[in-house]
């Protein structure tokens, strides 16, 4: 005799009310650096091992597509301010508009791991945890790209996975959108472009949106998926002070 439904009901509602309300539980995001009008811009810039920080006339700008959350610029005398938001999605530069009204509450996603380290995968797996529950937003994960509207790709796109990503993209019906998740998908991240990694999803399929982060937390991923249907807004990749 199984009482699992009872155990489930006993726990009550755990789901966040984001995006209709702000979600500020501590630890829900690792946070990320923001640009600042910093006097010692050169010293701050040197803290970054991946070149995400650039000195500009007004201070330090942050290139979010290169930040891998190494936390080197978080504390110390030259630290940048870090902010706990989740609206991380940036436009990848294609002119494709958000998917139409019909997809707003029925968006089917095919996830492909193209070399992700496990952190991105774990965050993506948590999307269907009760706390985040992507289904309440009308987003569903499908087993086949045949049924998918969105291709969600994580990892630095290893050479061995190129065929799979390409095939999945061509197997999808129109209209289709591609979302690259994590800094690795954008430019290879710490792995960069090398003999084993293509380093950048847009080199093999056209990409519509990026979700930067290393890894992007579940709410940032949800933000990106909602941006596909125009329910949230993208920001720019380069943050100027």
């Amino acid at each position: 005799m199984s009482f699992w439904p009872y155990f489930g009901l006993k726990r009550g509602i755990k789901t966040t009310s984001w995006p209709s309300a702000k979600e500020q539980s501590p630890g829900i995001t690792p946070g990320r650096p923001r640009s600042a009008s910093n006097a010692s811009s050169n010293a701050t810039t040197q803290l970054c091992p991946t070149g995400a920080l650039h000195p500009v006339e007004t201070g330090v700008s942050v290139d979010l597509t290169h930040c891998i959350h190494c936390q080197r610029c978080r504390q110390g005398p030259h630290a940048l301010p870090w902010e706990d938001d989740v609206a991380w999605t940036v436009n990848a530069g294609t002119a494709l508009s958000p998917l139409g009204y019909r997809f707003r509450r029925s968006l089917h996603v095919r996830y492909i791991d193209a070399g992700a380290c496990g952190a991105c995968i774990n965050e993506a797996r948590l999307l269907d945890a009760p706390v985040y529950n992507l289904h309440r937003l009308g987003i569903f994960i499908t087993a086949s790209p045949r049924d998918a509207d969105v291709l969600l790709v994580a990892g630095p796109i290893t050479n061995a996975m190129c065929t799979a990503v390409r095939k999945a993209y061509s197997a999808m019906p129109h209209p289709k959108r591609v979302v690259g998740m994590g800094v690795c998908a954008i430019n290879g991240g710490i792995f960069g472009e090398n003999f084993a990694c293509v380093g950048g999803l847009q080199k093999i399929v056209p990409v519509d949106l990026w979700i930067p982060g290393c890894p992007p937390p579940p709410l940032a991923i949800l933000h990106g998926l909602l941006a596909v249907v125009g329910r949230t807004q993208c920001t720019t990749a380069e943050e100027l002070p």
Partner: protein, 528 residues
Amino acid sequence: MSTCTQIQDWLGVQTGISSQAVAAQWLQLQIQASRLPELTAALVRDWQAEFATLLVEEEESAVDACLAVYYFFYLPRNGCLLEIQIRVQPGEELPAISETVHAADWHEREAEDLFGLRFTGHPFLGDFVLHDDNWPEGVAPMRHSFDGLHHPKVQKDSDTEWSPPQILREEGAIVFPVGPVWGDFHESGLWMLETPGEQIRYLHTRLFYKYRGVEKIAEGQTLDRALLLVERFSGAAAFAHAWAYCQAVERIGGCKVPARAQDLRLIFAELERIRHHAANIAEISGSTALAVAKAMAQDIVEDLLRLSARLCGHRYFFGVLTPGGLHHDLDPWRQNLLAETLPSLDARLHELEHLLKNSSSFLDRIEEMGTLSPELAQSYGVVGPIARASGRAIDLRLTLPYGAYATLAPTVPIAQEGDGYARLRIFFSEIHISAELILKTLHQISAGPVHTPCPTFEGRALAWVEAPSGATFHWVHCDAAGMVLRLRLGTPGFRNWHAFERAVENAAFQDFPIILATWGLSVAENDR
């Protein structure tokens, strides 16, 4: 030390091989290639030696460079590490040892693929790390002469088209492919089930779809940047791998990590272990379609991730470690937060464990499922919770203690059955033991700094950590300027995936995802 002398004497008397101690409990010996199989077989047979890792280094960047091959073994009973060195001249072949020391099987295949090192007597070389359908024959990427920035051109030749391996001889049997893209959020890899339908007779795993060439791209980078790589190649056990890497760098630099940093490292590592195992439990529950249990476990995982973010700024412990200690201290408020939060999380896991253990329909699906017999576990040299669920009492925290484990030794749970349920029990037991260990450490945590500057010298060192999924051995070789010359990541995933092939034999198709979940292995950790 006395035990190392024992084996030193035995080596001298029985085999006539001289060895020298390079460090406490670290024995180095150079032998002729021809003596390798006999010596390693004897070590495993007579000393119950465990194979740690195999690594190859190219001596110079010249085309005809010699290869130095290192075989690392350790004796779990004595806590003695053995380093067997062999120099291989260009064109020379090494005898394969994997016929007897089967744990070395994949290591040899990897070395053949990446260095072009030839092994005689190995029946299954080729198409391993580098897939035949997307890599030219005969190009060894780990050689210095190979340009690591560009993918070599592949000639499309239908004659050399890859075909799946088949060892099964049965009428009408097929190779049923699972992957590389499959399931909802599964990692990429190709599992080829040899089957006449329904029953799996044999499994071939074709991994390395996620090969990112980490060991190659680390070469020529700074130690700090290589640390970022080590943290990020396997996010589920980032702290453990970073810790092993830092220990190796610290060993080269000869720096002593402050006691407080050692305590904190233990705390974070055990926290990561709890989260890793909890995530596995969520996957096991999910694979048996137990949605409520999965939700409960996911809830705990999410709360652990949030706890990590609050303790050290990152949900996956990225950017916490640095050679010489930690980047930042854990302030009293955060210590308090951990001490207050952890017991309730552990209690929730206890509750989940109780519910699962009393759910007979769940137990029916994982009992006697994906069994790895103690004999196979021994032969394949599996590590970590997988080994402990198959009756192997090995844990580097006890056998080769490092960091604060010298004084704070955990208890090691053991199960004999080797089935899915045994692994689930081990995951739960380790969670409880880790929670206890964290609270104990927190209670008696040392005061003082958390970082000491670590000088860089030219040198090489092996360091190890018992990662959540088992023994990990990282080798670092750097020059005086702090540039990495060779990084070797000997991961537990690489060991355990090898044995996973044998655990699904005679299982039914529909049990494959369940077995996979009960093993809880990371492809990223294997592929590197």
